[in-house]
Structure formats: C-alpha cells, structure tokens
C-alpha cells in the first residue's frame, strides 16, 4: 500500500466517522432534551378553600382534607389532598405537606409528646416544623397559605424549606 492510498483511506474513515457522529448527535441531543427537560408550565394551581380559621384551635395541629386540581402529564386531576394545619395566631396559619421530608412516609401528630412523628424511620418534628431527631434532612415542607374572610386558603404548591 503506498502513501497516497493510506492517506485516502484515512480521509475516508474520517468522513465516515464525522457523518455518523453528526447523525448520532442529531438524534441524541433532542432525545436528551425530550427526556430531561421539564414540561412547559401549565396553569399555576388555584387557591383552594381548606378550612374555617375559627374552627382551628391555636397550637393544635389538625389534618385537613381539601380538593385540589393537579396536573399529571396530559391530565388535570381533581383529587383529595391533605395538609397538617397549625394556627399560630389568627392571621398566621401554616400548612405542612403530609409527607416526611426523609423518604415521603405519612407522619402524624403525637398529642402527648406535642410533636410530629414519622413512623418509618423515627424522624421527629416540632410544631413549627423543625427537625428534632431522626434522619429527616430538612424541616417539614409547607404549602402557601392565606387567610381571607376567615377562610384558610391553600395553594397546593409545595415550598421546600
């Protein structure tokens, strides 16, 4: 094989690799964008009416059930959701998302010990959501809340602490 032939073969291989690489990229880049990027934002969730503030006792957490609509892929679901609601004072009510910040188990209020207890891995949270013990990495997540005309309104977007 002479020199000219070798360089011709080298040029051919280079072209083959370049063209194949381009085609591979043209398929891979959209595929990655398609799988990893967030869907375009739908409507932001509405405020929903969750409870009458007057029926809540200050400093006593209550689990309230409310109806919300949630976007699930191509569907909009109208579903029940719950929140642990604590009235700090008449104008300040917080609503915690009902999932433990460790691995998502449902926690409950221990009325004797006056703290939130997660049954899965024994994370313990204070009434203001702070981690007191256990593996939970951050305080309890909250929903946005608003008090309007004596009604507690919840926006079902979770605010991570």
């Amino acid at each position: 094989m002479d020199n000219q032939d070798t360089s011709r073969r080298g040029f051919y291989s280079l072209l083959i690799n370049a063209l194949s690489g381009l085609m591979g990229l043209a398929l891979a880049v959209p595929a990655v964008a398609y799988l990893l990027s967030k869907p375009k934002a739908g409507k932001s969730p509405d405020w929903v009416d969750a409870a009458d503030v007057n029926t809540l006792a200050a400093g006593e957490p209550r689990e309230v059930v409310f109806l919300r609509s949630r976007v699930d892929g191509w569907r909009v679901l109208n579903e029940k959701a719950t929140a642990w609601v604590v009235k700090m004072d008449p104008q300040n009510v917080v609503a915690y998302s009902p999932s433990c910040t460790h691995l998502g188990c449902a926690y409950h209020w221990d009325d004797q010990a006056k703290q939130f207890v997660c049954p899965c891995h024994a994370s313990i949270f204070s009434i203001d959501g702070k981690v007191l013990a256990g593996p939970a990495p951050r305080p309890l997540d909250r929903y946005l809340t608003r008090v309007d005309n004596g009604k507690l309104l919840i926006s079902p977007t979770i605010q991570k602490s």
């Binding site: 194949s20 959209p30 409507k43 191509w74 005309n149």
Partner: protein, 535 residues
Amino acid sequence: MFRNALEWLENRTGAVSAIHHFLYEDIPDSSGWHQVLGSVALFAFLTQFFTGILLAFNYAPTPGDAYDSLRYIVTQLTAGSLIRGLHHWGASLMIIVVVLHMTQVFLWGAYKKPREATWLVGCVLLLFTLAYGLTGYLLPWDNRAYWGTVVTTQIASQAPLAGPYILRLLGSDGGAIGVVTFARFYAVHVLLLPVLTVLLLAIHLILVRRHGVAPSAGDFKPKKKFYPEQVLKDTVATFLWFAVLVTMAVAVKVPLGRTADPTDTSFIPRPEWYFLFLFQILKLFEGPLEIVGSIVLPTLAVLALFLVPFIDRGKMIRVRQRTGAISLVALGALGWAGLTARAIATTPPSTESENAGLEHIAAWRQIPPENLAAIGYFRKENCGGCHLLGKSGSAPDLTAAPSQKPVDWLIHHFRQPAPGAPPAQLNATQLKTLATFVTRRGDNDIEAWKNAPQPAVDGAMVYDANHCAMCHVLNGSGNNVGPALNGLADRRARDWVKDHFADPAKYSPGSTMPPFKFNPRDLDAITGYLMQIPK
C-alpha cells in the same frame, strides 16, 4: 491504554475481529452507488425504532388517553414535536427507500439464483413496512386516524371466507373501532412487528453475507473490500436521507386533527399518501366487483412480487439490456403516479383543518353561552369598577376564589351594590345567571372573563336573552331539541346563518324554530358569536 482495552475486549469477546471481519468483507468490483439503498433502509428502520421508543415514553395507548398524550408530547415537551416529526416523516421516507431498494434489486436482477431467499425475506420486510404504516396510522386517534382505520378494517372484512375472522382478529367484531382494536393495532405496531422485523432483518443480512453482494453481469474483476470506499458511499447516502428527514421534521408540521369522533359524519377519510393508489383502485370497481379492487388485485400483485425470482430464471445480463424489467418498473411507476394523482384530484378537501388539534382555542370559545353572557352582564353593570379582576381592589377579587355568598344575597347585592351606587338594570333571569356564574366559575371562565372580545360577549348576551338554550346545545349547555350548534361554521355559511333567523322554515324546511327579528347590531353579534364556536 486504549490498545490494552481493545485487546482485552478482543480476548474476551472476539468483538474486534468480528467488526474487522464485517468491514473487510469482499465485495464485487462493480459495487457502487446503486447498492447503497439497503444500508439506508436499515438506518431508516433504526431511526424509527429509536424515535418510536422515545414517543412511547410519553404516549398512553388507549383511546381515552392516546390523543391527549400525543398532544402533550407535541405541545408541552421540549423537542416532542421534532421527535414526532422524525417518526412521522421517517415512516414515509422509509417506505420510499425500501421501495427504491427493491426496485434496484429488481432492475439489476439481483434476486436470481442463489439469492431467491434473500428476495423473499425482503418481500416480507416490505409488507412489514406497509403494516407499520397501517397500524401506526390509528395511534394518534384523531379523526384522520379513526376514519382511515374504519375503511381499512371494512376492506379486510371483505376477504372471502376469512373476512369475519380477520375482523375478529382486529378486535373489530361488527365493524366498530374501539379499545380492543386500538390495543391490537398498538401491540402489532410496537411488539409483534419490531420483533419479527429484527429477526427477518438478521436473516436478510446473513443471507446477503452468505451469498455475497450481487455482482453486475460480466464483472469478473478481483474483489475489493467493503471498507472504506463502499462504507463511505453508504454513509453519504444515509446522511443525505437523514438530512432530508431532519429538514422535514423541523420544517413540515405533522398534522394532528381533532380527537376521533365516531359520530362525526362530515369527515372524509383518506389514507396516507402511499396507500392512495389502492384507495383509487377501489373507486374503479363497484358493486360485486369491489372485491377485485380491494382484495383480488392487491393479493395478485403481492404474489407476483414473491414469485419474481421463480418466473425470471434467465442468466444475469447487464441492467441496460433488461428492457422487460425496466418497462415493468416504468409501467408500475406511471400507474402508481396516475392513480395517486387521480386520488388527490378527486377527493374533496377535508372539512377539518389538518392541524385543527394544534390550534389554541381561546377560553371564551369553550365556555357555555350563559357564562359568557354573565361576563357581559358583569361588564355592562360596571362591576369591574370595584371588583378588579386578578388583583385586590375596594371589593373582593372574584377570580381568586368563587363567591361563597348565597344566591339570594348576591342578587340583593347586585340590586344595591353599595350605598348610593346605581342599581343593576338586569332582569331577574339575568341576575340569577350572574349570581350562578360568580359562585361556580372555572379556569376557562376566569380566562374568558379577563379577555373575551366584546363582540362575542354581546353575541352571547343576545343568545341568552332569547333563550336559545331552550332548544340548542352549545358548549355542553342547553337542551337537545334542535341541532347542536358547535362547529356551525363547518356546516353553514355566515350569510345562511344570518338570514336563517328571520325565517327558519324557509332555510330548513320542517324547522319548528320560531322566527327571530333581531335589530342589525344584535343579528351581527349573535351570528359572529355562533360562527366562532369550535366543534
């Protein structure tokens, strides 16, 4: 380092020498550009495989969800529209390249002994390619998909003896297309066909290797290697094909009509372009002869294709001397083009825009007329002076939460909004409509509340004031006595609608609708409004 890794791989798997063996295959000296199409077809299949899997990650294969999930892919996901474009146009371009590949093999006579089996497997792969097109056509579940498949299954049902069984196999007993048919088409499209295609492709390639690439007649020169010259030619051809595909996927919108509506009798079904010639052949045979066009001729054509290597058993001759084969191809191409052109020319245009499913429909065009009328009353009484929409003013923002007040309280409030404020001029029915609206409004109502154009709102108020809903359904509200009014613009001209009000019986003989003598402003408003409500 790299060399060591390769050595390790070679020692353990033999992969390196296998690739070497594959690339340095001996091919005839006469090989060249005319033999690139097989590689392009293979790449086309792999592209479809890849984009198909990507679509399946976000596609729900049931009639209830298919359309919405596809719409979600196309409108909500990054590159979703591009990936659907690659899959859709890739199907068309794959059919073109497969047919060209077969035509080349046919013209050169490459199917001759000992390559008959390669040809037969290739024929099955062609049928598979068409079967992908047929089954994939249903999956978007829009009107095109639905009505096209109704016709397909009806044709299959005409097969002598087997007809009813084929229909049952397609899950379409009695001719209806529903969940079962859908599941079967999907399973065939994504499970059965891909598995069989991969298997047959493997056999096809093994046979090509076993018998070697067919040399042109009279090529007795020493063999050359597949790599790099022929590989480069294959790659360049594939790249050109791919460039066309990407251009189409980016530049040409893939149609998506409205969701399949089995009660829509106005939709004119038509198949994908590559089946149009069959569609046209059907029109040439009528009555008892219909089966000739729908079953007999296609079956004979497929049979003839399979038998090609057994009918033509002569020696290999140069392609230029194969006048019989060339005339057959020319005749076939002419016949196909003629039938396709005729089909396009004689099929009336669809009543539905082919991108109807991708258009954004403004909220006010989707809400019940009484809600739009209520928005009109709200504006007419200048309620927005205190109740600012979307922000807090001197009175509550009614878009933030539905009013919790009892209807009686609201009506009283409308009559006397505030000390000294002018009372509402609305009648009792209108007051009630407004009160119901502020307590029950949904997301679309709120959007319409903010931006519905006043002429449409005026039209809705005329509609409400004249109690049209007593007899007509519009956007899901009203009684089913007269015809439903959604999609009126698809059925009637504007002038017809406008003139119809004054004398319904004249325009629709037998109509029991009373005449309505509107003043010119109201007439324009209600006509304009009705003509804009989609199906």
